[in-house]
């Protein structure tokens, strides 16, 4: 607030780095994880389910960079393979949830009247329930397994997109370009999908990015509780769960947790950067 010292004039490069440095770093972290997930079978030193009881609970060493777990499985190999599960579940849940939620919200806003009322009350209804508890109940009821857990998460995932999409479409609905499209005689589906949605896409993309980290966290949490993947699938949350009693053998639970932390932070950094980029006003305020 006080202007005792004039700030040094930043070069464009410095300014860019200060503004988007974190986002670029986060993007790099995500890219690294995606590559690791894709190349997992080739870069992991051991198969993820390779059991070597003689080498159980070994601390990190040259043979096992991140140590071994209770069954002598290589933690590094399991962490690398775990990226496949976590990333794909994150993308599937968030993209499907965003698709469905956006459709519901956009159609509700554009249709108006009772259709809007009904759809938004349904959205409110899902919002009444805390996501983890509802997802837990559904996942437990459907039976344990990656696909079922994804379904359970989808049930609680779409409403936030419905709300956002509705408010975005409402803001656009009466603008001149929509009126123009209507007067040309485009059908409502064309106006909604080809005219309005592209103009409302920015905030949706930000929410998707921030939400990817969130979805990975929730899925890992459910897995940690034993409601996600079926053992022996290498999954980060389940790995922390398997190692949580092993305080002396800290490496079993610590490294998969670090993997979750870095991926989620990566998505948060990128989401933050995207928000600044789409709304420069938010940054200078």
């Amino acid at each position: 607030m006080s202007a005792t010292a004039l700030p040094a004039v930043a070069t464009p490069g410095q300014r860019w780095r200060r503004r988007y440095g974190l986002a670029a770093f986060g993007g790099g972290v995500i890219l690294a994880w995606v590559l690791a997930a894709l190349a997992a079978p080739w870069i992991a030193p051991y198969p993820p389910d390779f059991v070597d009881v003689a080498a159980r609970l070994r601390p990190p060493s040259a043979a096992h960079w991140l140590g071994t777990d209770t069954l002598g499985r290589d933690v590094l190999s399991r962490v690398v393979h775990g990226a496949r599960v976590s990333l794909s579940v994150g993308f599937v849940v968030v993209l499907l949830g965003a698709l469905f939620g956006t459709l519901v919200g956009a159609v509700a806003a554009y249709a108006g009247r009772w259709a809007e009322e009904a759809m938004m009350r349904l959205t409110d209804l899902v919002f009444c329930f805390p996501p983890i508890i509802l997802a837990m109940a559904i996942a437990a009821a459907l039976g344990i397994g990656t696909a079922n857990t994804c379904i359970a998460m989808l049930v609680v995932w779409w409403p936030k997109f419905a709300r956002l999409a509705r408010s975005l479409v409402l803001a656009q609905r009466n603008l001149e370009y929509v009126e123009a499209a209507r007067s040309i005689g485009f059908p409502p589906s064309h106006i909604l999908l080809r005219q309005i949605l592209p103009n409302a896409l920015g905030p949706l993309i930000v929410l998707v990015t921030l939400d990817l980290g969130n979805a990975i966290l929730v899925f890992a949490g459910l897995s940690f509780l034993g409601l996600g993947t079926i053992p022996p699938t290498a999954e980060w949350g389940a790995m922390v769960g398997e190692g949580r009693q092993l305080v002396q053998q800290w490496w079993v639970a610590t490294f998969p947790g670090l993997a979750i932390l870095t991926v989620v932070m990566g998505f948060n950094f990128v989401g933050d950067g995207l928000r600044d980029w789409l709304d420069p006003h938010a940054r200078t305020r």
Binding site: L125, F129, I132, A141, G143, L217, G257
Partner: protein
């Protein structure tokens, strides 16, 4: 104002009714079979045992009859009986709730005590080291998996440094105080048992820090954003032109106006703490609602799951109303708009 309150209450009542239907349908339309999960394979292979079990828990009635029974029971405060504990669900919840309320309240207080000053300082000294620290704290807090953070805290401060007590609410050797409120801190003070109070407080430190981490991040970020907005307003410039001291401007003028979004978020965050306790409680063997929920979900104990989900949904709706009403009090324009 009265009309506004009445309208909000009516909507809320309708939402709760819809929620009962939703909970009921979810619990009933899923393929998982509570009989199998409860009786075990051996007993479940005997048709007589299965039939007896189904009849005892009303599992053989048509679905709408069961919804009607469920709803009628709800009105009388009867949430049914847990299949696992064989006790009324409400009694179970009453037993487990205080531990969660105590934990969530301490965690909430903690995140307010740290998050509000941190957010205000970050806004006042924007782009300084404290702003960066605030950003780091909130990003790590939001990004770290709760269950993992809980493990790390236990491993470091209990297993390695031995500064904090282990999991649980009390040391295994100490006796819990007479139950009055169910909140150990309160009950031990009422009983004048200073040692138990200290023990209970010490056991609260780690789990409440873990539970507070995510909320802390949200509160810090929201406070910072709202403060930045408030500090750029004309009345702040006027106050500065008048020569008011900086402390008076920040705390007296800007902060009260920045509290609106923080109140909204705070209310929701508290409700979220109650449910976020599931993971924290599991790691810390905390005898609260979170662990009860988890155990019921794994055992497919539908009456218990429905009961908890119902209660939490009601709390959520109630908190939302309180937030709306406090909004209306803080900013009279809300009612008119």
């Amino acid at each position: 104002m009265l009309r506004y309150v009445a309208a909000r209450l009516l909507t809320a009542a309708f939402m709760v009714l819809l929620a009962t239907l939703a909970v009921f349908l979810i619990a009933n339309s899923v393929p998982g079979d509570p009989v199998l999960s409860q009786l075990g394979d051996l007993a479940a292979s005997n048709p007589a045992t299965v039939a007896e079990y189904r009849q005892k828990w009303g599992l053989d009635l048509p679905i709408w009859d069961r919804y009607w029974i469920f709803l009628r029971g709800l009105l009388q405060g009867d949430l049914g009986s847990s299949i696992v504990s064989r006790r009324p669900v409400l009694a179970d919840i009453r037993d487990y709730a205080p531990a969660t309320i105590e934990l969530a309240s301490v965690a909430f207080l903690l995140s307010l005590l740290v998050g509000l000053p941190l957010g205000i300082l970050a806004a006042v000294r924007r782009d300084s080291w404290i702003d960066n620290l605030a950003r780091l704290v909130s990003l790590v807090g939001v990004s770290a998996p709760t269950f993992w953070l809980a493990f790390i805290m236990l491993a470091v401060f209990y297993g390695w440094l031995d500064w904090a007590p282990g999991p649980g609410q009390l040391d295994p050797v100490s006796f819990p105080p007479d139950r009055v409120t169910g909140l150990l801190l309160v009950d031990s003070l009422l009983a004048g048992d200073w040692e138990t109070f200290q023990d209970a407080a010490a056991h609260l430190v780690l789990p409440s820090i873990v539970l507070a981490s995510a909320t802390l991040g949200l509160i810090t970020r929201t406070t910072r954003a709202a403060m930045l907005e408030a500090l750029s307003q004309d009345y702040v410039r006027v106050a500065r032109a008048k020569g008011l001291r900086r402390r008076a401007i920040v705390l007296g003028h800007a902060a009260p106006n920045a509290m609106l979004p923080v109140v909204t978020l705070g209310g929701l965050a508290y409700a979220n703490l109650l449910s976020g306790a599931v993971l924290t409680e599991t790691v810390f063997s905390w005898p609260g609602l979170g662990r009860y929920t988890y155990q019921s979900a794994v055992a497919l104990d539908f009456p218990a799951i429905m009961g908890i989900t119902m209660i939490v949904a009601v709390v959520f709706v109630a908190v939302n109303i309180l937030v709306d009403l406090s909004y209306a009090l803080l900013d009279p324009r809300v009612v008119k708009g």
